[in-house]
């Protein structure tokens, strides 16, 4: 057989060299990325540019779903809408009480069914026209008549009979039934003369003609999908112009990258949504010119139980575990969860132990279970409850039902949320001790199985508004889907008669104290059902550069969050620092040791590789001619 002889041993050696070179390159890259504040990075950008304009850059992790107030549902988009458009009312940064926004005054009629708002005369759209009651009436009417415009805020107008604007400064809303949330209508009012031409509201994303006409403290000037949103200060804003000239929301998919950008001064603020991890906040606390804001959050973090998914007319669907229909099982599961460990280990103190449904930050509505009612951490009692429910341990230590099937649950977890995964690990062990199996299903998109009712348990969490109506409404029977597997307002298919009665009562109650009392009864009922088990109230952990931002308002102002407020207070009130530092002072001692360590590792590996290469050369030297 004829075989051609190729150049000998050329190929493997070249390959090896390539391998070494690429290894070294990879290591150098890794060292560069591991090490914060690395010296090769460009000089920090400053809050104050050469021409004197001040820019506040905020790193956000969430991408904008839509810039249309009729469609937007994500926190980042609704936060931006707070800046672009004025709402009828606003919340006081101090105590969350309703204060004037576009409306200066409001009053219900004696029969509680007609509300009259006085619209201010000193608010103008950025194209020079005056913002009037006509705009507000048009906004509400559009949401009431056009289904495409009701996507995000439709729940507010469901009970509206008629909205009219008898004069420029009068807005009259007639209701079908009394509604307690009339001073908390979180609906951006849009300019009628622009939006009339928008066409199909379910497709119009409001991101074509810049700058976008608005009347809020900032005017949106530019937007690029998953890249940035730029706003400039509205100098004519009736409450006064913001102090920063420009506000930029820049998209960082990776929180670590955002933190590195903050260290270098490329951004002034890292949004706490998702919160900074304990390791990140601990390392930032020691960094110069950076302040970490660790404040009670407005979220709850709960263990939701699928109560058997069904439609409004009672048609069942999904495949939730039948054992969970037993209240004893639900209580036992939650009793086996050590909430204190979750706070200490997973949140490392950056959270408060869960009690009722509404976080303690909203003091008026915060409710705690009484001693007899509380499902405290008690594994022995949990075992007893499970025995009582008919799930006894078999010889292998697994709990089996009367049909002999082992008790195995699935839990839906957000693959993007490290806390979900971490708590999933704990649950596996705690419930494993009880003889219950758990499969942690981490998905990028949990919505599909969620709406289809194809889950047993799920990690759940909502941001609570100063008015709790919305987070309460998502557990009513009315929120159930019309058709199986359809998107609906319901959170996890809860439909409880007693809950619904209480919900209706609180919505019709105009006396704040009485309403708060009803809301607490609601929370108590929800707690007893065992369908929503609140494990923790995570803190909002966010950080900003003090050499860019001299001062900023938190909400509540005593101890509160900055990003994702119910209002525009933080960005409107932010004051640029007098002289932004010019040098890369962010290189702390620890990071330079990090550089050294990184370089050290690279050197060691390179030396090892070199040695190997030399040996390889030596071994082939005899073969070479």
């Amino acid at each position: 057989m004829v075989t051609r002889v190729p150049h000998r041993s050329l190929r493997p050696r070249r390959r090896l060299r390539l391998l070494l070179a690429s290894g070294a390159a990879a290591l150098a890259l890794a060292a560069g990325s591991v090490v914060p504040g690395n010296p090769l990075a460009p000089a920090p950008t400053e809050a104050r540019a050469d021409d004197g304009t001040t820019t506040l850059t905020v790193a956000v992790a969430q991408s904008v779903d839509s810039l249309s107030p009729f469609l937007a549902q994500r926190l980042v988009s609704t936060s931006i809408h707070r800046l672009m458009y004025d709402y009828l009312t606003n919340y006081d940064a101090k105590d969350n009480k309703a204060i004037p926004g576009l409306a200066t005054a409001w009053e219900p009629s004696a029969d509680k069914l007609t509300w009259t708002y006085t619209i201010r005369s000193d608010s103008t759209w950025s194209d020079g026209r005056q913002a009037t009651a006509e705009d507000a009436a048009w906004t509400f009417n559009t949401m009431m008549t056009d289904e495409g415009a009701a996507t995000s805020n439709g729940s507010f107008v469901g009970n509206f009979e008629e909205v009219t604007a008898p004069s420029k400064d009068k807005l009259v809303i007639k209701l079908k039934k009394p509604q307690a949330t009339m001073t908390a209508l979180d609906v951006p009012i849009v300019p009628k003369h622009i939006w009339e031409k928008a066409g199909d509201f379910s497709k119009f994303n409001n991101d074509k003609d810049f700058p976008i006409v608005g009347n809020g403290p900032f005017i949106l000037t530019d937007y690029k999908v998953d890249s940035y949103v730029k706003l400039k200060a509205n100098k004519d804003f009736w409450r006064g112009s913001p102090k920063f000239d420009e506000l930029v929301f820049r998209y960082y998919k990776d929180q670590d990258a955002a933190v590195a950008a903050l260290r270098k001064g490329e951004v002034s603020f890292v949004a706490g949504s998702p919160s900074l991890t304990p390791a990140q906040s601990a390392s930032l606390e020691n960094a110069p010119d950076i302040k970490v804001n660790d404040a009670p959050g407005r979220r709850f973090f709960a263990l939701a139980v699928n109560p058997g998914a069904r439609t409004k007319d009672g048609q069942k669907f999904g495949d939730g575990h039948p054992a969970l229909l037993d209240q004893k099982v639900r209580h036992a599961l939650f009793m086996a969860v050590d909430r204190k460990t979750i706070i200490d280990k997973v949140f490392q103190g950056h959270a408060v132990e869960g009690e009722g449904y509404i976080p303690p930050r909203f003091g008026d509505y915060f409710w705690k279970p009484s001693d007899g009612q509380k499902l405290a951490h008690d594994p022995a009692k949990a075992s007893a409850l499970l025995d009582e429910a008919g799930y006894r341990k078999n010889s292998a230590g697994k709990r089996v039902g009367k049909d002999g099937k082992p008790l195995d649950f699935r839990i839906l977890c957000h693959a993007t949320d490290p806390n979900d995964k971490a708590i999933g690990k704990y649950l596996q062990e705690w419930w494993g001790d009880q003889g219950i199996g758990l499969k942690v299903d981490c998905l990028d998109n949990v919505s599909d199985p969620w709406y289809a009712g194809e889950y047993d348990l799920a990690f759940d969490g909502w941001s609570v508004n100063p008015d709790p109506d919305f987070v309460l409404s998502i557990h009513t029977c009315a929120a159930l889907p019309a058709k199986a597997k359809e998107t609906a307002a319901t959170d996890n298919f809860i439909c409880d008669k007693r809950y619904d009665e209480l919900y209706k009562k609180q919505l019709a109650e105009y006396d704040p104290a009485k309403r708060a009392d009803l809301v607490k009864q609601l929370e108590s009922r929800l707690y007893d059902t065992g369908y929503m088990n609140v494990m923790a109230y995570p803190n909002a952990v966010e950080a900003y550069r003090t050499d860019h931002i001299a001062s900023i308002t938190t909400m509540p102002s005593a101890a509160g969050n900055i990003y994702g407020q119910d209002g525009y207070w933080s960005w409107w009130s932010a004051v640029p620092a007098a002289g932004a530092s010019s040098s890369g002072s962010s290189d702390s001692g620890s990071s330079s040791t990090g550089v050294l360590v990184g370089i050290g590792i690279a050197v060691v590996v390179l030396a090892g590789g070199g040695l190997l290469f030399a040996m390889r050369r030596r071994s082939t030297a005899e073969d070479r001619e």
């Binding site: 000998r8 591991v34 933190v259 073969d623």
Partner: protein
């Protein structure tokens, strides 16, 4: 690539082979089976003698032996409880110390123990995925080389399609669609990395099938199955073996990549998973190098060891790659 590769061992014609060093005329002629066994033993010895001359290959083998030993003895070395988050002994993200030589993770578990446990997953997934990949590749390669005609055309176009598709993208797509488990990862890697093997094996099959003894076998009534399994397969085996060792390192790297991208079962500890955990815990921006460096280095070392072994095997089995005889 030139297809003519030569295999050191002879084609299977045992009746012609002489038992080397056999006792001679006194004893009755040894049975064909004993002859085959003796010949195989000899081939192994010869292979080892040649392998021994490759120092890099020996280093790789030694490293692999140590790692395999660690993986197998992990339960004895660090105990089964070391993966538990509820009885984690340390504080969160501790720096290396006497008690925790590689520090701790965010739950307070010893990273050294997790590294050892991760060895098992990374090796298992790497090996199984590589075997799956090579098995598919061999099957496709041999049948395409043997049957030719429209079948080969279709199969090889499919192979080409898989070859030009970026492996990682395809694996990510698969891992996203299927539920998250170790088997998904193995499947995703296995079904996306076979085309190279298929091409190699097909080339070797074509060259083997052009040999006269195949024609002889066919004339004697050997069917497709017989020729493929008894004549072609043994002759492509060395190539397949070398290819497997090389594919393992790719598979381990891909497994780590998928785990790092969060596409593997999050409750299983693997090296890539550790890197992902580290990233999620914010170890990168807070400079906790002890969390990031060891899994990364471990992946690099194992991949390198398999590559060194694979290269050595390849050069022993393939005389064209320039090996001292």
């Amino acid at each position: 690539m030139t297809t003519s590769m030569e295999k050191p061992s002879e084609p299977r014609e045992p009746e012609l082979g002489k038992p080397s060093g056999g006792p001679g005329k006194a004893a009755p002629a040894p049975s064909p089976r004993a002859l085959t066994r003796a010949r195989r033993r000899q081939a192994v010895v010869r292979f080892w003698q040649q392998y021994r001359t490759h120092r890099a290959g020996l280093v790789g083998l030694a490293v692999l032996a140590v790692i395999a030993l660690l993986a197998l003895t992990a339960p004895l070395l660090v105990g089964a409880g070391s993966q538990s988050v509820t009885d984690a002994p340390g504080g969160p993200m501790e720096a290396p110390s006497g008690e925790f030589p590689l520090g701790t993770d965010q739950f307070g578990r010893s990273l050294l123990a997790l590294m050892l446990w991760g060895t098992r997953v990374s090796l298992t997934v790497g090996l199984l995925a590589a075997f799956l990949s090579v098995a598919i590749g061999t099957l496709v390669g041999i049948t395409a080389g043997h049957f030719k005609g429209w079948y080969a055309t279709v199969v090889m176009r499919v192979t080409d399609w898989f070859l030009v598709m970026p492996t990682l993208v395809l694996a990510i797509a698969l891992a996203t669609v299927l539920s998250r488990s170790v088997w998904t990862t193995i499947l995703a890697i296995g079904v996306t990395t076979w085309p190279t093997t298929a091409r190699l094996v097909r080339a070797q099959t074509l060259s083997v099938e052009s040999r006269p003894y195949i024609e002889r076998s066919r004339a004697l009534g050997g069917g497709h199955g017989h020729i493929m399994s008894r004549h072609v397969l043994p002759n492509v085996m060395p190539l397949v073996l070398a290819q497997t060792t090389l594919v393992i390192s790719t598979a381990i790297l891909t497994e780590a990549t998928l785990a790092f991208l969060g596409l593997s079962d999050p409750t299983i500890v693997s090296w890539g998973g550790l890197l992902q955990d580290a990233r999620e815990a914010g170890a990168v921006s807070s400079g906790n190098w002890w969390y990031l460096a060891p899994p990364g280095l471990a992946i690099a070392v194992v991949a390198l060891a398999f590559t060194l072994c694979g290269r050595a095997i390849e050069s022993v089995l393939n005389p064209k790659l320039g090996v001292s005889r």
